[in-house]
């Protein structure tokens, strides 16, 4: 099993295979499964992501009423006007938002790597799909590549806001998506690693400060930022830009920052946006507390 991104990239070079292929073969080895059953299981997860986006684009509302409907606004805006940030980017944003609105409304999602960050990977995937026209297998490979990087982060650092802040949760999700976009766009494994690094570096230090402790404000919009960050960083890596700091060291930095982060900024709703006058008012109104 690969433990670091360095080891992962070395395997791709030695065996002359893609990152997704390394992840597929490892899953087959560890669980003694044939290729078909590994691909079939990922296909089920991809279907869940497709259904969640569709549901979100039709419009949902959360139980608290704090989130829902923004994915619809974005799609309407794209239909009637020319988005300044371009169609691919705004499509990724709307699909990331759609997924997290469904999550907030108690719909079914696939955690990638968590429920609160479930929008970044499918948002980026379904947006670049419109331009790259991948086969079904290439879409599944996108998820294995994202999974390979998430696997390293999970085993060497953390991916939950409670453990390491939003940088660990949406930061990791966005970086995973970025690496996968590069592979789908026919970039090299090394470029995937650079894209991952660039994305995560740009989200270091991000705190987890959910209003009223709910996975809604600002979580839904943070996924929008994550999905767009993923695509921009992928373009940077594909252009030949390299991360000066190696990927495993960026993950190490994220881990140390998460460890040093006060607990008020790790999903406790005791700091940041949760403790603004409006954040506190919303919490009081929802839970009838003083």
């Amino acid at each position: 099993m690969f433990r670091t991104v360095k080891e992962l990239i070395e395997i791709t070079e030695k065996e002359e295979i893609s990152i997704s292929e390394v992840m597929i073969r490892q899953e087959m080895d560890v669980y003694e499964l044939d290729r078909q059953s590994v691909m079939d299981r990922m296909d089920q997860h991809l279907k869940v992501m497709e259904d969640a986006v569709e549901e979100g684009l039709n419009g949902v509302k959360s139980h608290s009423g704090l989130t829902g409907g923004d994915a619809v606004l974005l799609q309407n805006y794209m239909r009637t006007q020319t988005p300044l940030s371009g169609n691919v980017l705004l499509d990724a944003v709307s699909k990331a938002v759609a997924t997290n609105e469904v999550n907030a409304a108690m719909g079914v999602v696939c955690a990638t790597p968590t429920a609160g960050s479930a929008g970044c990977v499918p948002g980026a995937l379904f947006a670049v799909k419109e331009q790259l026209n991948p086969t079904r297998e290439e879409m599944l490979r996108f998820l294995f590549t994202a999974g390979a990087f998430g696997f390293v982060v999970s085993n060497n650092a953390f991916v939950s806001g409670a453990a390491g802040g939003c940088q660990a949760e949406v930061g990791s999700a966005a970086a995973m998506a970025s690496a996968a976009v590069v592979e789908m766009a026919k970039g090299t494994p090394e470029q995937s690693a650079h894209a991952f690094s660039i994305t995560l570096k740009n989200m270091l230090g991000l705190v987890c400060d959910p209003v009223a402790g709910l996975v809604e404000v600002p979580c839904v919009k943070r996924n929008a930022a994550g999905a767009s960050n993923a695509i921009v960083s992928a373009d940077m890596a594909l252009s030949g830009i390299k991360s000066k700091i190696p990927t495993d060291e960026v993950i190490g930095a994220m881990y140390r920052i998460g460890k040093q982060m006060p607990s008020a900024h790790k999903e406790t709703a005791e700091g940041g946006l949760a403790q603004t006058p409006t954040g506190r008012r919303i919490e009081r109104e929802l839970f009838n507390q003083n």
């Binding site: 990922m42 999550n103 108690m106 696939c110 968590t114 994202a146 390979a148 085993n155 402790g213 709910l214």
Partner: protein, 220 residues
């Protein structure tokens, strides 16, 4: 290494919004139902800590009830669990408790039918993982580091052997095991901590083993 599968990262499939307050809550409700072993008529949920404060926003109430209805964490009927319970004639209530407790995501579930009552204390420890800490006031003393199962069985010779044989056959190593009974020949309880995850087919085999009455995964 903590995580071995790509599906730990791209997954699980679950109903949102929170792995600890929603997915974990469904699993606790489901474990309580499995231990009760028959349809429930009345159920009361006593909520502590963060569960008591934020249960409405996270749908923890719907999730706990959905578990008691036998649903899995990815079942899209979870959000309408109240209606499903009413249609089945199950009466349910939620009590917000102020008592200080070790873990913020704790619930005490009291299940009833005509004949019997059972009380279970469960904790959602994060990431959708759960622990059942108490059964009818009896502390289970699980280490919290390994998957665990509870097996209610008839206090007869061979009952324990039938379980350990199945675990051995599937190369599942027992790390710790405890057996308790109310009285000679009556219902007894095995608490088993294992090193590997107990998969669905092994669980089914254990359920149908000799003298086994009920089984619940209390940590996975």
């Amino acid at each position: 290494m903590k995580f071995k599968s790509v599906f730990d990262v791209i997954g699980p499939v679950m109903v949102g919004p929170s792995s600890s307050h929603t997915a974990g809550a469904v699993k606790i409700g489901r474990a309580a139902l499995d231990l009760f072993g028959k349809p429930v008529e009345t159920v009361q949920f006593h909520l502590y800590g963060s569960f008591a404060k934020t249960y409405k926003g996270h749908g923890t109430d719907l999730a706990l009830l959905a578990g008691v209805l036998g649903y899995a964490p990815d079942d899209d009927r979870i959000k309408s669990a109240f209606n499903h319970a009413k249609n089945k004639g199950i009466s349910f209530s939620f009590v917000e408790e102020n008592t200080a407790i070790d873990h913020p995501n704790t619930v005490r579930i009291v299940l009833n039918d005509n004949q019997s009552e059972m009380e279970v204390v469960g904790v959602s420890v994060g990431g959708g993982k759960i622990e059942i800490q108490e059964l009818n006031g009896f502390q289970l003393n699980l280490s919290g580091n390994h998957p665990a199962i509870l097996i209610m069985h008839n206090d007869r010779f061979g009952a324990i052997a039938s379980v350990t044989e199945i675990l051995a056959k599937h190369e599942i190593n027992i790390g710790r095991m405890e057996v308790n009974r109310k009285d000679v020949g009556e219902e007894a309880l095995m608490t088993i901590e294992v090193d590997q995850t107990i998969e669905e087919h092994v669980e089914q085999e254990l359920r149908s083993a000799k003298h086994i009455l009920r089984l619940a995964k209390v940590m996975d």
